[in-house]
């Protein structure tokens, strides 16, 4: 086995290490995984658990879409169960999949390695975060076993305040779901706390702030949002739990409480949470675009500071979720602030495009996801502008236009980047190469299916189709638009099954991954695949992680090596 020596890495290759030891075979047995303090193993456990949750959330979405294939009648679900299924879909996808997806799964595996550290600052807290995630997932499952809830994933009062006369769910199911989200919130807080301390205090000599890969900047900005916004959600959920248990009346209009106050609390968290979801995705894409274009990232500092700017703006725009229930003055302020978020977002898009310009682009699977992200994120951002426009929002509020808009951000951007990141780091995480051609085909099916699902929803929404309706009249072509959308959802199912198939097959009979299959120059490509238990043999030396001039393709090992070697 030949291993590449590298230009800047201090990790000198020595064949017997590469062959024998890595973090996967470091120790044996179930407990060595369940009680591990190794950030890579915790990341892999997160990845497996999150992908399982993603499968569940996806099935719930398919059930909802199938029900909507015809405008009237109950194809699969009664109205009550329809409400429960879209709630389930939203809660799983937001709290269990997208929020922890990139930071907790991919971030855990690669963040310390990218930084050149041996582990995150608090490994035990890291493991605790994982078990908080598991507990949160268990609570959501329990809520389903108790009959499910139909509050919507936002837990708006008074839906989330149990009322025997009006609700088809039980108080126990609501309390259980709220507890689950509360736990997942703390999982997220502790992950963010860990990452901030790691980035501040565990940078090795030479790793200055402006030498960090942009993925770390975006994870840092995300972590700030996680620590400062999530506690507000936690207290809101706690109050709702107490409300359901003993009836304190804070959010209950029947008892003089204020349900809109609950919406303000909720969105004070959940709008920054939108950036908790999208910022790591932007970080992943910064890596994908630069590495696979083999060109130095354009405008490093602009991308870095735009992440911070987005995190700050993210705290100031929550009111735009309540344009229909605030004073005109507040609406104007929030509308203006919302527009300003588009500036740092656009800065990033232009920088990625400028990075690709005159680059030597490899159209492989991770790069396809990177380019798909730019395309879909641009649509997501531009369709956000009409929603930030007060007069237009009155028409579009709570229609399928909103649904399509946030699916372009949440799924088309965040999840596409997550899947792209999995493909990018799969050789590093698993030590195996997947089938590249199947990867490309699956991407195009996914891309097609995604747009087929959500472009019709833009059209239906702009014609007035309200969200969350179980039945609808067949006017303004609503039925044909819904049917296209449902067919698109099943197309995506096909692509996800393909992805699952070839990733699993790569573990069975995939080619062994070289140290540096893509030609990246950040530190994870300077350690073996899969990495050692302790990541690096000695503290690595740090160079410019976006300088690819010292690397050359070596056909023998099917990977990039240093020109010196």
């Amino acid at each position: 086995m030949n291993t590449p020596d590298t230009a800047t890495g201090g990790a000198v290759s020595s064949p017997e290490i590469t062959e024998e030891r890595n973090y996967i075979n470091h120790s044996q047995g179930m407990l060595s995984w369940l009680l591990t303090l190794d950030h890579k193993r915790i990341g892999v456990m997160y990845l497996a658990a999150i992908l399982l949750a993603f499968f569940g959330g996806g099935l719930a979405a398919l059930v909802v879409r199938t029900e909507l294939f015809y405008g009237d009648g109950d194809l699969l679900l009664s109205g009550d169960w329809y409400n429960k299924f879209f709630t389930l879909h939203g809660a799983i996808m937001v709290f269990l999949v997208i929020i922890p997806g990139i930071p907790a799964a991919l971030g855990n595996v690669v963040l310390p390695i990218l930084l050149g550290a041996k582990d995150v600052a608090f490994p035990r807290v890291n493991l605790m975060s994982f078990y908080f995630w598991m507990l949160g997932a268990a609570c959501l499952i329990l809520s389903l076993l108790l009959g499910g809830i139909d509050t919507g994933w936002t837990f708006y009062a008074p839906y989330s305040i149990y009322d025997a006369a009006a609700d088809s769910h039980t108080a126990g199911a609501v309390i259980s779901a709220l507890t689950g989200a509360f736990m997942l919130g703390f999982s997220s807080i502790f992950t963010g706390l860990n990452f901030i301390v790691t980035i501040h205090k565990l940078r090795p000599p030479g790793m200055t702030w402006f030498r960090m890969p942009l993925f770390l900047w975006s994870i840092y900005a995300t972590a700030v949002c996680q620590i400062l916004a999530t506690p507000v959600l936690a207290i809101t959920l706690l109050l709702l739990i107490v409300e359901n248990a003993v009836g304190i009346g804070i959010f209950n209009p029947n008892m003089g409480g204020d349900p809109v106050l609950m919406q303000h609390f909720f969105w004070f968290y959940s709008h920054p949470a939108v950036y908790i979801m999208i910022l790591p995705a932007m970080g992943v894409v910064s890596e994908l675009i630069a590495v696979h274009s083999h060109r130095h990232i354009f405008g490093y500092k602009f991308i870095a500071f735009s992440s911070i700017a987005i995190a700050i703006f993210g705290f100031l725009v929550w009111g735009h979720h309540m344009f229909t229930s605030m004073s005109p003055m507040m609406n104007v302020i929030f509308s203006a602030l919302t527009y300003s978020v588009s500036i740092p977002s656009a800065v990033k898009v232009f920088n990625w495009l400028a990075t690709m310009y005159k680059g030597s682009i490899n159209i492989n699977t991770p790069m396809l996801y990177g380019m798909g992200f730019i395309f879909l994120f641009t649509i997501a951002g531009l369709t956000g502008l009409p929603l930030a426009t007060l007069a237009v929002d009155i028409h579009l509020h709570d229609t399928y236009f909103v649904v399509a808009h946030f699916h372009y951000t949440m799924m088309g951007s965040a999840l596409i980047a997550f899947i792209g990141g999995i493909h990018h780091w799969w050789p590093k995480i698993s030590g195996r190469m997947y089938n590249e051609n199947m990867g490309r085909v699956a991407f195009f099916i996914l891309f097609f299916g995604f747009n087929l699902t959500f472009i019709p929803q833009f059209i239906a929404g702009s014609r007035g189709m309200p969200r969350r309706y179980h039945d609808y009249p067949d006017i303004f072509d609503f039925q044909i638009l819904h049917q296209a959308s449902t067919i698109g959802a099943y197309t995506m199912l096909v692509s996800f099954l393909m992805i699952a198939y070839y990733l699993v097959m790569s573990l069975v009979n995939g080619r062994k991954a070289p140290w540096n299959p893509w030609g990246g120059n950040s530190l994870e490509w300077h350690c073996q695949s899969p990495p050692l238990h302790e990541n690096f043999r000695e503290t690595p030396t740090v160079g410019d992680c976006y300088d690819y001039s010292g690397l050359v393709w070596n056909a023998e090992i099917q990977g990039y090596v240093s020109k010196k070697a």
Binding site: A117, K118, D119, V120, A121, F122, P123, V125, Y162, D163, A164, A165, I189, L193, N194, I196, V197, T198, H200, K201, L202, I227, L228, A229, T230, P231, V232, A234, I235, T236, L238, L239, V242, E243, A245, V246, G247, I248, G249, I250, N252, P253, N254, M255, G256, G257, D258, L261, F265
Partner: protein
């Protein structure tokens, strides 16, 4: 790598030296405290919103609170903060007996605080006010609504009946119109059971008022008419003080753990991180109370 600390058994493998480990732990604690502040901020925000919208609830409700006990508790917590700070200092100077003494003193103050809170809560219960369904008035108005009374008895009438306040039964105009207790349908496990229970509570309530001169060493004299939705004030009071109390309890567990470590001689000038971080946490718990006391008891 600094060789002098490298062999320290307290150094975890992924840190270069003790300084790095200490700085990382300290930053972690500050971030944790930042999230604690925002956790409480939600409740404070709730306090300010409701105080702004319904000042009469807070004016009336705060009569149930005894500023004397609140003030004593403030002093107790301030002393505990001082002893905690001294404990940190003792750990830094490797003064083992001083550390143990100060940790014990801090624990006693924390216990005293919780004891006084218990006395206060007990007196609230005896006056028939508590959180949500356990609040006598909330239960009664809910039951009235559930039993289908078109016009449930106004809280003010019941208050007059319970002889807390000699109010004009018709003077209900203080309450905002939307806030009259209507249509609440929150059955506990069994409606019949709850019904009986509430009537017991009713009698117990009247009974307690005929004897309430002894509670907390003073007679509870309530001026003015009981506004509708007074439970919002008590929800606010109990949510804030209970959440704070939970943090005090967590702090007491932490103090026991620090004490056990101190007895074993684990903390010294070279390694005092847990005591230092525990101190930071304890000061935050103190700080929250410094805000709670004037907001709830004084203004």
């Amino acid at each position: 790598m600094s060789d002098d600390h490298h062999g320290d058994p307290n150094l975890q493998h992924h840190f270069e030296d003790m300084d790095q480990q200490f700085n990382a732990s300290k930053l972690g604690m500050w971030l944790f405290l930042a999230q604690e502040v925002l956790f409480f901020a939600g409740l404070f925000c709730f306090y300010f919103v409701f105080r702004y919208n319904y000042p009469e609830l807070f004016e009336f409700g705060s009569q149930y609170l005894d500023a004397k006990w609140g003030a004593i508790n403030t002093v107790v917590l301030l002393i505990s903060s001082l002893t905690m700070a001294l404990a940190v200092r003792c750990a830094q100077t490797s003064n083992k007996s001083g550390l143990i003494l100060n940790l014990v003193l801090t624990f006693i103050c924390a216990g005293g605080f919780m004891g006084i809170k218990f006395v206060e809560y007990k007196s609230k219960l005896e006056h028939g006010v508590f959180l949500g369904l356990f609040d006598y008035y909330t239960v009664d108005s809910e039951l009235a609504a559930r039993e289908g009374n078109v016009a449930p008895t106004s809280p003010v009438e019941r208050v007059a009946h319970a002889t807390i306040t000699p109010a004009d039964p018709n003077a209900t105009t203080i309450a905002p119109p939307a806030a009259t207790p209507t249509g609440i349908t929150r059955p506990p496990a069994s409606a019949g059971e709850a019904h009986d229970h509430s009537h017991d509570g009713h009698e117990a309530h009247d009974h307690s008022h005929s004897h309430d001169d002894g509670h907390g060493g003073h007679a509870l004299v309530i001026h003015g008419e009981r506004p509708a939705n007074l439970h919002l004030f008590f929800s606010c009071y109990f949510c804030l003080t209970m959440l704070h109390g939970i943090h005090v309890l967590a702090g007491m567990i932490m103090l026991v753990w620090l004490y056990l470590g101190a007895v074993k001689g684990r903390y010294h000038a070279g390694y005092f991180t847990p005591v230092d971080l525990g101190g930071l946490y304890w000061h935050l718990v103190d700080l929250v109370w410094i805000f709670l006391f004037p907001l709830l008891y004084l203004i």
